[in-house]
Every structure is written in structure tokens, then in C-alpha cells.
């Protein structure tokens, strides 16, 4: 069984984002780029499955659509433990474009289990995984918080409103994973960092595809009114304010 983990590189989640060029572009000055948190967790789960001989995972590959500048993010994933990687050499124009590029390579390389994080912390699209599945015409399961492989077939826990379901689908499939899929992201060991330098990263040139959407301008959320403080000794006053002033309860 071959697992593919699709990763996106995003600004560190504590970044205070700023925009330049009349608010049309992210100001990348001083930004620390990291693997998208959900993708990092899905990579961790993929490696856990590979460590378990009963799951029968032969390899874990990392997929990325991006320019050479995002190479360090791929190397980081290899250092954490992925066996190899491919990169489609194109700026990720929108989710549709990225999914089309991923699907084109997946058709050539063939994977059994494709993992995508439920969203990226930059565009918050929640789209790429479902789109890849539709391009490939294969099943997708969304909001997956656990994956097990039993007797060669997958058991996926998906979160639904007010509960969860354990489902199975035939391979190949796309699992769109969320919180719970792994406890803590796996960290690269020194040996992992050394070996990552020599692991193969296959380079693909992009297919001719046009993005369907574009971002015209960014704006920051409107600032909130200053906080009104209430004396802790008289905390009940808060409830009165919420009722009479904010009229919210």
C-alpha cells in the first residue's frame, strides 16, 4: 500500500499577517514557513501506519505544489520520515489549480491512500482534498479523525454533527483529515534531517490549467470597541450589561 500526503506550506500560525502592494499580497518579510498544521498531523498518522507492520504500508510520499522557495518545507517532511516526495513546479494559484496538478501526478504515480488536511491555515479553503478526489473520480471521506487499516481495508472515523461514524471505502480514496488524526506532530530526528538531504524529490512541470478564482484584495477585521471592565466584586453587573446594553441575552 502506498500513502500520499499532500502538504501546503503556510506562515507559522502565530504570525501577525500584514499585506503589501495596496493589500493585494501577503507581506512575507520575516515570515517563518511551516507545514500546514493539519498536513503535518496527517503525515504523522501516515508514518504511524507505516511503523505498524500489520497495516502493510510500503511507502509514504509527500506531494506539494509550489515554487522552489518551498523546498525547505518538503525537506522538513522528509526529515520527519516520509520516504520520498514530488513537487509540481508552479505557484499555487487557487485550490482548483492545485488539485488539478496533484491529480495529474497521482494518475501517473498511483497511490492507494491520499491524505489531505481539512484546510490550510492561510486561505482556509477546505477544498483541495475533495477536488483531488473528484478529478480522480474516487471516493472521499471528510472530517476524518482516525484512520486504521485492518486486513488491508481502511476504517475511517468521520466526525458528524453531534457524533461520529466509522466508515469504510474501497481504495484508492482521499481522506480529508482533521484534529484527532494524530496526537502530536512527529518531530524530525537528527538522523532524519541527515537522510532527508538524499531522499528523492521528483519534479514535475505543471499541466496547463487556469485558476477559477482570484483574490483581489485583503482586509483586516474591523477593530473591536475597547473592553469595558467590570469590578470582579460586582461581577453580576456583567449580566445586566449583556441584557440591557448589548441586548444579547
Amino acid at each position: 500500500m502506498k500513502i500520499l500526503v499532500c502538504i501546503s506550506n503556510v506562515p507559522d500560525t502565530t504570525t501577525k499577517v500584514k499585506f503589501v502592494d495596496s493589500d493585494t499580497k501577503l507581506d512575507t518579510t520575516g515570515i517563518q514557513w511551516v507545514i500546514n498544521p493539519w498536513d503535518e498531523l496527517s503525515l504523522t498518522r501516515a508514518l504511524e501506519l507505516k511503523d505498524d507492520p500489520s497495516a502493510g504500508v510500503k511507502s509514504v510520499t509527500v506531494a506539494h505544489v509550489g515554487l522552489p522557495a518551498s523546498e525547505p518545507t518538503i525537506r522538513k517532511a522528509l526529515a520527519i520520515g516520509a520516504d520520498d516526495a514530488f513537487r509540481v513546479n508552479a505557484a499555487p494559484a487557487d485550490s482548483y489549480f492545485v488539485a488539478a496538478q496533484l491529480a495529474a501526478v497521482i494518475r501517473k504515480e498511483q497511490y492507494d491512500v491520499i491524505l489531505c488536511g481539512i484546510e490550510s491555515s492561510d486561505y482556509n479553503g477546505s477544498m483541495t482534498g475533495g477536488m483531488v478526489a473528484e478529478f480522480l473520480g474516487i471516493p472521499s471521506v471528510s472530517a476524518v479523525s482516525d484512520i486504521k487499516i485492518e486486513n488491508g481495508s481502511p476504517l475511517l472515523t468521520r466526525e458528524i454533527d453531534g457524533g461520529r461514524e466509522i466508515v469504510t471505502v474501497p481504495m484508492p480514496f482521499v481522506a480529508i483529515v482533521q484534529k484527532g488524526i494524530a496526537k502530536e506532530p512527529r518531530i524530525a530526528s537528527m538522523r532524519g534531517i541527515m537522510t532527508s538531504r538524499t531522499k528523492p524529490v521528483r519534479l514535475y512541470e505543471p499541466e496547463a490549467e487556469e485558476p477559477l478564482t482570484g483574490i483581489k484584495v485583503y482586509e483586516k477585521p474591523s477593530p473591536r470597541a475597547a473592553c469595558k471592565f467590570i469590578d470582579p466584586e460586582n461581577a453580576g453587573q456583567l449580566i445586566t450589561l449583556l441584557q440591557n446594553e448589548a441586548k444579547i441575552i
Binding site: S121, N124, V141, K179, K220
Partner: protein
């Protein structure tokens, strides 16, 4: 031409978020000078479907067959795509909830329709079709232009006010055929709590953080939530410690919510936490540290010990309800 709203049902019932979608769709249809069509998939009674009429639903299409009993993303994509094409939909609107996130991206590829997710306002313009959407986990919003003939929107929950526009909705049962071989999701086991107020549906949320000090101290917080008709939530350290269930974790990697009122008790307000709650209409914070970042986004604050403040709040709410 039409605007198509997909209204999910929960065991045959709609929720407030369904009516929000219909209200929103009705306004978008007005902006485009066209009419609104609502699509319901699964077993829903006429009486329930008629409710969509209160919020601007004029035509309601029902699809109900054996293949839609379980959420199989491919089957649902097929059904919605067929109806969208039949109705010549220019815009397809779904909720930005788990079902919308599962199906809408597939639909985007199927219809080659540009998609904007996490939209929280009416289109900023219809030509070019520009949507206001959440980016950078709530630290910014983008004006996203969708260039295709058909557009797909997923609307953030609790971001659009209900607009009552009563009319007598006409219900049609569609006879589209669904390819049964598409059904490939098999449910082995289902665990579901019924009757519990869901965090994502709640208009008021009371949430606790590390300032609650231990798993044993949640009684008054739960009591406050109960008295306010609110759902309970928590910050990441709390769910990591196992003080509360993971389902309650709100924040960047947990649930993203936008209630009318978010009461953060003993939560300092790290960027990752705020990413999950910053769209709340009102934020109230109780924290011992007056410099905690949560006070920068709160409209009301109490600098004090969560465990001392909570009983006073419970008492005040009880007094109010008398």
C-alpha cells in the same frame, strides 16, 4: 437561470442555519435578478419543507431515494450537480459545515465552477462576482473574485441574519436518476448524541481555559451555560489535558465558531485560540491577567479569578430569569 440553495436536514428536520442559507440565497437571487430554488435531499416531510417558504424559498425540489441515506460525497455531488444543471443555476450555496465542506469542493470540479468557502457577507459585487471570505484563520478577509459561469459558495454559520419573507412554497419531487454504483461509503458504526446543543449551532457559548485549574472545577461553568441556554467549549490545553472532551476544543485546529456571545473564562487568548472564535459578535473575558490578549478582542471583561467570578455570574443569571 436560478440560484440554488442546498438545505441539509438532520433526521428530517431543518435548523436555523438552513433558514439562514435560504435567506441568504433569496438575497443573492435578488441581486442577480433571478429566482431561488431550494434543494432538499433525503426524507423530509412536506410540512418541514414548507418552512423554507418563510425565508424566501419559493420552489423546493426534493430528491429522496435509497442512495442518499448515508452521506456518500460522490452521490451527493451527483445529485446536486444534476439539479444545478437542470435548473441552470448560476450560484450554488451550501453551508460551510461538515457536509458542505465534504461535498462542495467535488461539486466545484464536477461543474468546473469557481468556489469561495467561509463566506460571511452577501456578494460585494455581482460583476465581477466578488465574495467576502475568511482567510489567515480570521486574521484577514479576502475579496475573492469567481470567474466562472457557475459559482459555488459555502456560507459561514451564524453570519447572516434571517430575513422573514413568507410565501407559499411549491414542493416538487424530482425524478432524476442516481447511479447506484457511486455509493461506496459503508457506515460500519454510528455514535450519535441526539438532543444535545451543538457547539457550532449555539448562539451563546461558555468556554473555559487553563484558568479553570482542574477538571473538577467545571460545575459552575456548566451551570452558567445551562442557565444561559448556551453550549460549553474549551481551549486546547484543556482538551489536551483531558479535562474536557476534544469535541469542545475551539480554536484554529479545533472548531471554528461564530456565536452571538462567547464567554471566555480563564482563557488568555493565544492567536490559535482567537482563530476559532474571533468572528463571535460579542466576546466576554474573565481572566486574572489584565494584560491577557483576550481583553484586546473582548467588549466586556472582568479581571479576576474564574472560580470566584463564575458563581456570581450564575447567581446573576438565575436572578434575571426569575
Amino acid at each position: 437561470m436560478s440560484v440554488l440553495v442546498y438545505t441539509q436536514n438532520w433526521d428530517g428536520r431543518f435548523k436555523k442555519s438552513s433558514f439562514e442559507l435560504v435567506s441568504y440565497g433569496s438575497k443573492v437571487a435578488e441581486m442577480l435578478n433571478t429566482s431561488l430554488v431550494c434543494l432538499s435531499v433525503g426524507a423530509v416531510s412536506d410540512e418541514e419543507l414548507k418552512k423554507l417558504g418563510n425565508w424566501g424559498g419559493k420552489r423546493i425540489i426534493r430528491v429522496d431515494n435509497d442512495y442518499c441515506k448515508v452521506l456518500d460525497n460522490q452521490v451527493y455531488t451527483d445529485i446536486i450537480a444534476q439539479i444545478a444543471l437542470k435548473e441552470d443555476a448560476r450560484v450554488v450555496i451550501m453551508s460551510d459545515n461538515s457536509e458542505g465542506k465534504a461535498v462542495a469542493p467535488r461539486l466545484s470540479v464536477r461543474l468546473k465552477a469557481g468556489m469561495a468557502s467561509g463566506v460571511s457577507k452577501l456578494p460585494l459585487s455581482v460583476n465581477p462576482f466578488t465574495l467576502y471570505k475568511r482567510t489567515y484563520s480570521g486574521n484577514a478577509f479576502a475579496h475573492m473574485v469567481v470567474n466562472t459561469d457557475i459559482k459555488i459558495i459555502t456560507l459561514s454559520q451564524n453570519s447572516f441574519d434571517l430575513v422573514e419573507t413568507p410565501n407559499n412554497a411549491v414542493i416538487e419531487t424530482s425524478n432524476i436518476t442516481v447511479d447506484g454504483s457511486l455509493v461506496r461509503t459503508v457506515v460500519k458504526e454510528s455514535q450519535k448524541q441526539t438532543g444535545k446543543l451543538l457547539l457550532t449551532d449555539a448562539e451563546i457559548v461558555v468556554s473555559g481555559g487553563r484558568g479553570m485549574k482542574s477538571a473538577d472545577n467545571w460545575g459552575p461553568l456548566v451551570e452558567l451555560a445551562g442557565a444561559l441556554g448556551a453550549a460549553t467549549a474549551c481551549s486546547r490545553p484543556v482538551s489536551d489535558e483531558g479535562w474536557r472532551s476534544h469535541e469542545e476544543h475551539t480554536g484554529q485546529t479545533g472548531k471554528v465558531i461564530a456565536p452571538n456571545l462567547y464567554i471566555a473564562v480563564g482563557i488568555s487568548g493565544a492567536t490559535q485560540h482567537l482563530a476559532g472564535v474571533s468572528s463571535s459578535k460579542y466576546i466576554v473575558a474573565v481572566n486574572t491577567d489584565k494584560d491577557a490578549p483576550i481583553f484586546e478582542v473582548a467588549q466586556y471583561g472582568i479581571v479576576g479569578d474564574a472560580l470566584k467570578v463564575l458563581p456570581k455570574l450564575v447567581e446573576a443569571v438565575k436572578e434575571l430569569k426569575k
